[in-house]
């Protein structure tokens, strides 16, 4: 039992923090927002120069086979810059194929995922129909689906690999509130689909990786909201004093920190629980996703409020955090849904 980063983990965390601070800058993110929501330059550097695209990919397929804890430190860093990159899809699809793909599927896709040559995403709908290897149906809210080359789609029990250029697949991308992660609608009409060897295993770990990614991004985002607001509080004066010297202001900052510290425990508890195969893992994932999303939303809202008028402008970055926080709350089930799952574990189904 030692609930602190190893030296290696601390190093990855620091590297990632520095990388995203330098690459996923506000101006790059805003360029991506004005286009297709994909900061290609950052993603390319991330996968290739930094070599972190293969974080969750086994070594034999070009990855570094690290654990969820390592991945969480990276997602946290990406979240702290609201980076417009398809990290969520990488985590979900990379771990899903690694866990549930055939050898052929693994060796075909995993190296390309690790290198960033292929961008992946996924989604599900219980009404998806499979008929003679052809998949039909509609899947909404596929994150970064607009720029993905590869999808894993699921009806909740089976999972299929679908390539973006397959016949019969159309990808529509409406404008989304959070422009750093567009959400596409896929319409499939008898689309060629390659079933994963072990769909259940793939879905299981893919979902876990997705939740960890969102929770860790939320943690990083919340911490960034607090850090940036603290900086502002020290510089900005009102009524002749730094606004950070006003007690009510201080107390709101303190309240942010209290939540964030818990969110931090949640993310790394859940990540450890997955890495160690703990029987707490499921509970930890629900706790992490719901708690961290709420913490981020609270902190981003407070960031706007504590900046006053400027926090409400397009020019200021506060809204990037605020909109990301909201979208994380809604992605992969709401907080209430996750808490109800926990309630069911504790209390059984409601009568």
């Amino acid at each position: 039992m030692d609930f602190a980063f190893t030296d290696e983990q601390a190093m990855i965390a620091e590297t990632a923090q520095q990388f995203f601070a330098e690459n996923a800058t506000s101006s790059r993110t805003r360029e991506a927002m004005a286009a297709d929501g994909f900061d290609r330059a950052t993603w390319q550097s991330f996968c290739q120069e930094l070599g972190l695209g293969g974080l969750l990919v086994p070594e034999e397929f070009g990855g570094s086979a690290l654990g969820m804890v390592d991945f969480a430190t990276v997602a946290e860093a990406a979240g702290s810059q609201v980076a417009a990159i398809p990290l969520h899809g990488l985590a979900m699809i990379g771990s899903a194929i690694a866990a549930g793909g055939s050898d052929e599927q693994k060796s075909k896709w995993l190296p390309q995922l690790a290198s960033g040559d292929v961008v992946a995403s996924g989604g599900g709908n219980a009404d998806l129909k499979s008929d003679n290897g052809g998949l039909s149906g509609k899947i909404e809210f596929v994150p970064h689906g607009n720029i993905a080359n590869l999808f894993i789609l699921s009806d909740g029990s089976e999972a299929w690999i679908v390539e973006a250029d397959a016949d019969g697949l159309s990808v529509d991308t409406p404008v989304t509130m959070d422009q750093t992660r567009p959400q596409a609608t896929l319409t499939l009409s008898n689309v060629k689909a390659d079933p994963l060897a072990d769909g259940a295993a793939a879905l299981n770990i893919g979902k876990a990786a997705g939740w960890i990614c969102l929770a860790a991004e939320a943690l990083g985002g919340a911490q960034a909201c607090l850090d940036r607001t603290c900086e502002y509080a020290k510089e900005r004066e009102q009524f002749g004093r730094a606004i950070g010297s006003f007690q009510a202001y201080k107390h709101r900052l303190a309240d942010m920190m209290i939540e964030i510290e818990q969110a931090r425990s949640a993310v790394y508890w859940a990540a450890c629980a997955i890495d160690e195969g703990s029987d707490e893992a499921e509970l930890a994932l629900h706790a992490a996703k719901s708690f961290c999303a709420d913490t981020f939303f609270k902190c981003a809202g407070d960031m706007i409020q504590l900046h006053g008028g400027i926090g409400f402008t397009w020019e200021h970055d506060a809204h990037l955090f605020f909109k990301r926080a909201r979208s994380i709350q809604t992605m992969m089930q709401s907080g209430n849904w996750h808490r109800e799952e926990i309630a069911t574990m504790i209390l059984g189904e409601a009568a």
Binding site: E140, F141, P174, V175, T176, M177, D178, Q179, Q183, E237, Q238, F239, G240, R241, A242, S245, F246, A248, Y249, G301, I304, Q305, G308, G309, G311, F312, T313, W314, E315, A318, H319, F322, K323, R326, S327, T330, M331, S334, N336
Partner: protein
């Protein structure tokens, strides 16, 4: 204590409802249901004039200045029916509710003659220049400077959050006219024409993609010497008086707009089935309670004739509605679920509920942040010691 309206008042209600509905289904049907402040501004100026032509422009004002000298009950009724009929907000809200009453109270006869008829007639649109960058909620920190030169006021500086400045004719500005003064002293209250070289207006893009607010720059901007309201140095007193007008009958019209927003949430919940979720049901019930209590709080505040004591309902009103509405924005999104993330057109432009979610984050900031409101409540309402100013 009585909540019901008299027979005469109910007749008045029918009269204004019928006129407003005629307008909204007839000549002005093209502006019905607009909820933003900026859309179709020119048509809405015509609407101001239509209101004036039928004496509905400022019913609470004295008859001699274009009003009807309407009773409180009638003003309440008109505000309610106005919003109920789906009429969009007044682009001359600031002229009618703030500038007009300020001139009525503090202006000279000449100023009344010069401004009031045109405001009442919808010919002069006003906006408000209080906040400054760096001063935030602290009006006493105003740095925009004014001085008299060749029989004119000359103003230099910058205002921010000047809502609707880009469609307005006049702006009232609080300026520092006594050099070397600090805080509330040495401020003056000026009326300035906007269409002049010395005034430049730049829109501020907001988080919802709209640009309702502006920055307004004054570079040797000018106005006649008699555009000063009150005496030089009275600026603080007049600004405070004006802020009190902000809590007038128009709050009830604002509440009717809130009613429409809550009704849209209720309809969305019924339509997508989240109305069956006990957690959503509790929140909708709380929102309904909050809105009702806002209404009865406003009626208490408007009925209160005892001005010797602090009016708790009035003092707490701003933070109450702003916080309620911010919560409403979150409720709306939770009812919509993930679908609330999606804009329906191909642009970054939002339907009522997502827009409410984004826009309402400003409600707890402009016009005095929630923090400033709590200071005021504790100090003025509860007698707590003042916050020490720095330096």
């Amino acid at each position: 204590m009585k909540l019901g309206f008299s027979k005469e008042d109910e007749d008045f209600r029918s009269e204004c409802a019928s006129w407003l509905n005629d307008q909204m289904s007839g000549e002005f049907s093209d502006i019905k249901g607009i909820t933003t402040l900026t859309e179709k501004a020119e048509r809405r100026k015509e609407w101001e004039q239509q209101l004036a032509a039928h004496k509905w422009s400022c019913i609470g004002w004295p008859e001699e200045w274009g009003g009807r000298g309407a009773s409180l009950a009638q003003q309440v009724i008109f505000a309610e029916e106005y919003a109920r009929a789906g009429v969009p907000g007044r682009v001359n809200h600031i002229g009618i509710e703030l500038a007009g009453p300020t001139i009525l109270t503090f202006g000279t006869d000449e100023q009344k003659k010069r401004f009031l008829p045109d405001i009442a007639a919808g010919k002069t649109i006003f906006c408000q220049g209080f906040s400054e960058p760096g001063a935030g909620s602290d009006l006493a920190a105003v740095r925009t400077k004014g001085h008299v030169e060749n029989g004119e006021w000359v103003v230099n500086g910058q205002k921010i959050w000047t809502s609707l400045a880009h469609i307005s004719d006049w702006i009232f500005v609080v300026t520092r006219t006594e050099e070397g003064t600090q805080g509330p002293k040495g401020l003056s209250f000026l009326m300035m024409p906007i269409d002049q070289e010395g005034i430049e207006i730049r829109g501020i893009e907001q988080i919802n993609g709209d640009a309702e607010f502006n920055e307004t720059f004054f570079t040797d901007a000018k106005c006649a010497e008699d555009s000063l309201i009150g005496a030089p140095g009275d600026g603080w007193k007049i600004a405070m008086g004006l802020l009190a007008f902000e809590r007038g009958v128009s709050t009830l019209g604002q509440q009717m707009a809130f009613r429409n927003e809550l009704d849209e949430i209720i309809a969305a919940a019924k339509s997508n089935g989240s109305s069956n979720d006990p957690l959503i049901r509790q929140r909708i019930a709380k929102a309904e309670i909050g809105l009702r209590l806002m209404r009865y709080g406003a009626l208490r505040m408007l009925s209160n004739q005892d001005h010797s004591k602090v009016d708790g309902a009035a003092l707490t009103y701003k933070i109450q509605w702003a916080t309620w509405r911010r919560g409403l924005g979150e409720l709306g999104m939770d009812v919509l679920g993930q679908g609330g993330e999606i804009a329906e057109g191909g642009e970054y432009a939002w339907n009522t509920l997502p827009n409410l979610f984004l826009y309402s984050r400003a409600d707890t900031i402009y016009g005095g942040t929630n923090q400033i409101q709590r200071n005021l409540i504790a100090e003025r309402g509860l007698g707590m010691p003042r916050e020490p100013r720095g330096k």
